[in-house]
């Protein structure tokens, strides 16, 4: 469905100079500062897959998504979405993708939500009968009925995000890009967004590319993740395999009688009762727990290694 090969994006800006006449020099300079935002990235996403595209701020996530959606032209490399080159065929590509930016709404600020949805329907040439059915489904899935007639500027963030999801899926695109769809949402709203994504993926075999900083999103939705940093792919594969491959050791945390807390790494294959016995022989234990490695600690470790 989505094929990316050696994708690279270099941003080029005239060099800025300090000092009182710096602005003038910037205006006439022929020297440029180059920043490589995406560096030789390749991956393939088959139809119906939900992929988490992860990386720290500035890693190149948004730039990649913008090239996948055709907003940006790649410096080099190849992007093919459903057999099309997105930036060369923006209009046709637009019809086959839904895009949600968590930070930016696509709805009409001053108009009731229902009007925004109608306008999206008109823009994507959704036939009237089809629109009614689609709208009904969105209302049921996302619980829009209570605020369909409220101007978008008066919606809460959670309501607005549900409206944005409806607008992105109203014309049944086979591909859905979600750029931080749960940013700033409360627990319940996050849950609603996740359930919607699971439903659309299951019902329509919609391919989903999700960028997020919320690893709970990833664990709830994706089986596969692509990790990038500084524009390069660090990992591409299943979440389980990632945790196994990079797993930091399990740790024994012991709270001692004198309010001291100590932690011991449990080496692979070591016997836990034996370790506890050894610690108990030397100290008075008040409480103890075993920490399993989770996705967050794994990813923290990978980011840390890539920075080094």
């Amino acid at each position: 469905m989505i094929r990316v090969e050696s994708l690279t994006k270099v941003f080029r800006r005239p060099r800025t100079f300090p000092g009182p006449l710096g602005a003038l020099r910037t205006l006439v300079t022929r020297r440029y500062d180059e920043r490589v935002a995406v560096d030789d990235v390749s991956f393939e996403i088959p139809e119906g897959e939900v992929v988490g595209y992860l990386g720290p701020n500035g890693a190149g996530k948004s730039t990649t998504v913008k090239m996948l959606t055709g907003i940006l032209t790649p410096t080099s490399g190849l992007v093919e979405v459903g057999g099309r080159v997105p930036w060369r065929d923006r209009s046709a590509n637009a019809r086959s993708v839904g895009v949600v930016f968590g930070q930016r709404s696509q709805l009409w600020w001053d108009l009731p939500l229902i009007e925004s949805l109608r306008l999206v329907g008109a823009l994507y040439d959704v036939p009237a009968a089809h629109f009614t059915g689609s709208l009904r489904r969105m209302c049921d899935l996302l619980g829009l009925d209570d605020f369909l007639d409220t101007p978008v500027r008066q919606l809460s963030l959670g309501q607005r995000m549900r409206g944005d999801l409806a607008a992105a899926m109203l014309y049944d695109p086979p591909i859905l890009y979600l750029d931080e769809p749960t940013v700033g949402l409360d627990v319940l709203a996050k849950q609603a967004v996740r359930e919607f994504i699971v439903d659309t993926n299951r019902a329509g075999r919609t391919t989903v590319v999700l960028t997020t900083h919320d690893l709970a999103d990833v664990e709830a939705l994706c089986r596969r993740i692509i990790l990038i940093d500084k524009g390069r792919v660090l990992y591409d594969g299943g979440i389980d395999a990632l945790v196994t491959a990079y797993a930091p050791p399990r740790r024994l945390v012991v709270h001692l009688a004198d309010d001291e807390t100590r932690t011991f790494d449990i080496a692979g294959g070591a016997s836990v009762p034996e370790l506890i016995g050894r610690v108990a022989a030397e100290n008075t234990i008040r409480d103890l727990s075993i920490e399993e490695p989770d996705l967050e600690s794994v990813i923290k470790q990978i980011y840390a290694e890539s920075t080094r």
Partner: protein, 266 residues
């Protein structure tokens, strides 16, 4: 052809939606329209006062100048009514709003044009059309047949400068000051007969910055004054065509700049 019809239909759908949004702020709308009309009206009132002292200006009577003024203003309003959104293009680029425009299956310029509703321009249009009708010589069919394309052509001349300069902001160049200056030149020089200016100024306003083509030449044709032009009468008759040619060129510039769009950070 079907694609153009679709674009026009969707332009109307989107522009109406923006209008409905703007009309939520009723007082704001009323103030904008009235301000636009009063501002342009006061500009003409000044001409009126001057003409009380001098019966004619460059060989043109008050009534003829009123007609020219109305023609220029109508063309200007016709240009800015759909294009007033371009004034905010810098903002659309900086806020990343243009990303969404590129994600929708409709010509990006059509979408940008519908982002705002220029209420002030409605006032411009009112004043312009009133002047045009009140000051016009007795109409006949041939005059109407020339006047309509002339106003459209004049609007396109002005529009082509706005469009090509605004499109530079797709590459983070802020051209608002330059556009403000050009807007001034078009209104300050375009609303009076070129014959009051010196030969060099007139030459520049004809061949370098074609202000004369917006209203002065068409008005000369309609008022039967082509004899005093600095170009052959045939050029004045063909003046509406310049707008079409310049706008086609400006649209090419816009498309070119759009290809270099770099979006914002997030």
């Amino acid at each position: 052809m079907a694609e153009i019809a679709r674009a026009l239909r969707l332009y109307w759908v989107l522009q109406r939606a923006t209008m409905r949004g703007a009309l939520q702020y009723r007082l704001n709308t009323v103030i904008s329209v009235v301000t636009g009309a009063v501002y342009q009206g006061s500009g003409f009132a000044f001409v009126w006062v001057v003409m009380h002292t001098f019966p004619s200006m460059g060989g043109w009577s008050l009534r003829e100048i009123a007609f020219l003024y109305g023609l220029r203003l109508t063309a200007h309003a016709l240009c800015m009514l759909p294009l007033s959104s371009l004034i905010g293009l810098e903002w659309l680029v900086r806020e990343g709003e243009l990303d969404r425009v590129l994600l929708r299956p409709l010509n990006p310029l059509v979408q940008v044009m519908t982002k705002r509703m220029g209420m002030g321009q409605v006032g411009d249009l009112l004043t312009g059309v009133v002047l045009l009708i009140v000051a016009a010589p007795p109409w006949n069919l041939a005059m109407i047949g020339f006047c309509v394309p002339a106003v459209v052509g004049g609007a396109l001349v002005e529009a082509s400068f706005h469009l090509s300069l605004s499109s530079l902001s797709l590459r983070m160049l802020d051209t608002r000051a330059l556009r403000g200056f050009l807007d001034d030149v078009f209104s300050k020089f375009g609303s009076y007969p070129m014959s009051v200016f010196g030969g060099v100024t007139q030459w520049v306003l004809t061949f370098v910055l074609p202000v004369a083509f917006v209203a002065y030449m068409p008005a000369s044709v309609l008022l039967d004054k082509t004899g005093s032009l600095n170009v052959p009468a045939l050029v004045a008759y063909g003046s509406p065509l310049l707008g079409v040619a310049l706008f086609a060129l400006a649209y090419r510039v816009w498309e070119r700049q759009l290809r270099h769009y770099q979006s914002s950070g997030t």
